[in-house]
């Protein structure tokens, strides 16, 4: 062995970094028993059918009985969609990738009140190939 300190020098920082970099833990989400879930009153898509290369704006209207500030999250299932900068309770979406035939996507809206309460609703979009216009 040339110099045992070499090994310590190389592996110690790497080990520390790996532990820091890959450490994981449970989410700190806690539920307040006094808290009421937000309520989604409407979820709309305008338009609900669009051609590849254009877009649709999804709007969710939600209230919180406790008056909490709401956060909005979105997911798409059934087809890849690409998000565009939008307002807090709206999401403008376009097709992510080329498509060959009409596709539908289910857009899931998740509204959270930051105190463990949430509401979910979904809406279906249809996307048509741009050549079928």
């Amino acid at each position: 062995m040339k110099n045992p300190n070499n090994i310590r020098f190389i592996f110690t920082p790497i080990a520390v970094i790996l532990v820091i970099g890959f450490s994981c833990g449970k989410d700190d989400k806690t539920t307040d028993p006094q808290n009421s879930n937000p309520v989604i009153t409407s979820l709309t898509a305008d338009p609900d059918t669009f051609y590849a290369g254009s877009s649709s704006i999804i709007t969710v209207i939600a209230d919180d009985p406790d008056g909490d500030v709401l956060s909005y999250y979105w997911e798409a299932h059934g087809s890849h969609l690409m998000p565009m900068p939008s307002g807090s309770n709206t999401m403008e979406l376009t097709n992510c990738c080329p498509i060959a035939q009409p596709e539908s996507a289910v857009v899931l809206s998740v509204v959270e009140d930051g105190r463990g309460g949430e509401a979910r609703d979904s809406i279906e979009l249809w996307i048509f190939p741009s050549g079928s216009r």
């Binding site: 040339k2 020098f9 190389i10 798409a76 565009m84 080329p98 060959a100």
Partner: protein, 310 residues
């Protein structure tokens, strides 16, 4: 030596990723010179820092480019820290820890509005054991090696832009445990080396999504007219199966491509530090359906070798 090591390690983990040169890659880009094609020398630690940049901008249908009114472009950049240690003659272990930046832009054809989505984060780490039943020696400059590895789901799969969960292709990680098998043959000659290798990546599902399995191959020739400088030429290719997702109907995935990659290696400090630059160009690309094709790939490498025994 300690200064070089500390600098390399600091670069990977502590610098602001956007304050210095970046690099990248997608799963379909051949991973030669990142994964390593030979067994590390016994009791020797090889540490590499790789910067990869992949630019994709042409839309393909099958093997032909087609008009893309949405001007889709993608830039994948990646820095990888690699470590390989030779446990004994003919057996080595190695690790690859990537950090990637992915950026995809397209425009709304009807309005011309440009959309940009991006992500950054530690990707999936890969660990590999390589064994040589026909090991190199000072009198026999050839080696046959077999490798088995696993890619761990260390990268994030839940990154969002504007509150929207990004599609799988833009996430830094895949979320799945994937398995790698590789076989390589190295032959050293007077003025040149030849490496032939093939790797198979078997993917598994995560959250009902499975990236396609992937076979990649490499034919690499290094010419070393001088001790300090080497020139290389690689022909490499990838055959990637279709991705599968239960709730996805018509997904255009799966591809075949062949890359031609000239390269230059400089042995800055003999047997200690080598610097490499590769520039890859796809000479053939074939896609299932309509997909974004690659334009070029740049790969920069700094690799140091630390012997622990005389």
């Amino acid at each position: 030596m300690r200064g070089i090591l500390a600098t390399l390690i600091s670069c990977v983990f502590f610098l602001n990723p956007f304050s210095w040169a970046q690099n990248c890659c997608v799963p379909a880009v051949p991973q030669h010179s990142v994964l390593g094609e030979t067994v590390a020398m016994p009791h020797t630690l090889e540490i590499g820092l790789h910067y990869q940049f992949l630019c994709s901008g042409d839309m393909y249908e099958g093997s032909n480019t087609v008009n893309d009114p949405e001007n889709t472009e993608a830039v994948w950049k990646r820095v990888s820290l690699t470590m390989a240690y030779g446990i004994s003659m003919g057996i080595s272990v190695s690790a690859i820890i990537p950090y990637s930046w992915k950026n995809k832009t397209k425009s709304i054809a009807t309005t011309g509005v440009s959309i940009e989505n991006s992500s950054a984060g530690i990707g999936d780490a890969t660990f590999l054991v390589r064994f040589s039943p026909l090991a190199r020696s000072f009198v026999k400059f050839r080696e046959l090696s077999l490798g088995l590895g696993v890619k761990l789901p260390t990268g994030s799969t839940d990154l969002r832009n504007f509150g929207f969960l990004l599609p799988e292709e833009l996430q830094p990680g895949t979320g799945s445990w994937d398995y790698i098998g590789t076989i390589s043959y190295y032959q050293g000659l007077d003025l040149m080396d030849i490496i032939i290798s093939g790797s198979y990546l078997m993917t598994t599902s995560h959250d009902n999504f499975k990236f396609g399995n992937q076979f990649s191959y490499l034919l690499l020739s290094n010419i070393h007219p001088e001790d300090i400088v080497e020139f290389s030429l690689a022909l490499s290719g990838v055959i990637q199966g279709k991705d599968r997702r239960e709730d996805l109907r018509d997904d255009f995935t799966g591809k075949r491509n062949i890359w031609l990659t000239p390269g230059l290696t400089i042995h800055a400090i003999s047997e200690v530090l080598r610097l490499q630059v590769f520039a890859g160009y796809p000479v053939y690309q074939h896609f299932n359906g309509r997909q974004l094709g690659s334009e070029y790939n740049i790969h920069l490498t700094a690799e140091i070798t630390v012997p622990f025994k005389n």
